[in-house]
């Protein structure tokens, strides 16, 4: 007997993203090949602007709201827990600032539906479009993750990823901030989850948002702590 088609939940953490969120939500597909349904879940992480209102106004979007800002990692976890409650079989996480393209969704989801991997990582091109600090930081963290956990990746810090609900149970992270992407990889390596990297397009709207050099140092400190078993 064939397995029923999975519900795909797209988890979008958003903090003060009223500028980019409506465009992102309107670009999301209402159906994906091999999926029974597609449900976007916006996690408004303590925004002070109209993020939650705009997300609620979008058709078919579920909205959960953190009363205070907890950070990207916490927002992704809340969104993933919401996805499980809604019965999702596949969870996609993508940034709320519109840097990821909805057009890449099928490439991330299809390998999971076909059972080719448990986790799919979107890999950003290391082109000149990527801010120099991000390129450098990503290189350092890629090296650290390879050296400490033995995973060779083209982009260890990308935020556009997809995983099965069963994989999420093993990935469940504690990081509240930008260390979440790295913690996912640590759990992925330790739990022996199968993964694929797929190239994605990225548009950098605001170079001063997202991971900053200090966040990079914070992530590096976390990586060392995780290696030491904490």
């Amino acid at each position: 007997m064939r397995n029923p088609l999975p519900l795909v939940a797209i988890v979008i953490p958003a903090h003060n993203e009223e500028r980019h969120l409506p465009g992102l939500l309107s670009s999301l597909p209402s159906a994906l090949a091999g999926a029974s349904r597609v449900i976007p879940i916006v996690v408004d992480d303590g925004s002070r602007d109209g993020t939650a209102r705009l997300a609620r106004a979008a058709a078919g979007v579920r909205v959960v709201r953190h009363r205070v800002r907890l950070g990207k990692g916490a927002a992704l976890k809340t969104g993933s827990e919401a996805a499980l409650r809604l019965g999702a079989g596949v969870i996609v996480v993508m940034d709320g600032d519109g840097q990821h393209r909805a057009g890449d969704l099928p490439r991330l989801v299809a390998p999971l539906i076909r059972g080719e991997a448990e986790v799919v990582l979107g890999t950003r091109p290391l082109s000149r479009d990527m801010p120099a600090t991000l390129r450098f930081g990503n290189g350092v963290l890629n090296f650290a993750i390879r050296a400490l956990f033995g995973i060779r990746l083209g982009d260890s810090q990308g935020g556009f990823r997809a995983f099965t609900a069963a994989a999420y149970e093993k990935l469940r992270w504690q990081a509240r901030g930008y260390a979440v992407e790295s913690e996912m990889l640590v759990h992925m390596a330790r739990q022996g989850l199968t993964f694929l990297e797929v190239p994605i397009d990225v548009i950098y709207h605001d170079r001063h948002k997202g991971t900053q050099p200090l966040d990079g140092l914070h992530i590096l400190r976390h990586l060392l702590a995780w290696r030491l078993g904490h």
């Binding site: 449900i39 996690v43 078919g60 579920r62 909205v63 959960v64 709201r65 953190h66 009363r67 205070v68 907890l70 916490a74 976890k77 809340t78 827990e81 919401a82 409650r85 809604l86 509240r176």
Partner: protein, 112 residues
């Protein structure tokens, strides 16, 4: 009496009063009040009559009472920082759990 001794005694006495105010506001309990009054009261006495504590300095094998106070102060500060760190972590965890529970409760009530 050197001015610094007097200043230290006045500061410690002011902190004794502050601890009492915090007790009256219900911010510390009876045991907390007693602990802080003993700590600050001890410092008032040590500031005004350092000779009384000189014997403790000798027992601890430090030359001066000031050195002993500094060492004890650093130990106290270190343990206070550690306690506050743990407390902040616990508090942070509780806030995260509460905020997440509230957010997911909204999901249950939101028909979508």
């Amino acid at each position: 009496m050197p001015a610094i001794q007097l200043l230290a005694a006045i500061f410690a006495a002011a902190m004794m009063y502050q601890a009492f105010i915090n007790y009256r506001r219900g911010e510390v309990g009876g045991l907390g009040l007693l602990t802080w009054e003993v700590v600050w009261g001890g410092l008032v006495v040590a500031a005004l009559f350092p000779g009384l504590f000189q014997r403790f300095a000798a027992v601890a094998h430090v030359a001066r009472l000031l050195d002993l106070v500094t060492i004890v102060g650093l130990l106290f500060l270190g343990s206070a920082v550690y306690y506050l760190h743990l407390f902040a972590r616990r508090l942070e965890k509780m806030v995260v759990e509460l905020v997440r529970a509230e957010a997911l409760r909204d999901l249950d009530t939101d028909p979508g």
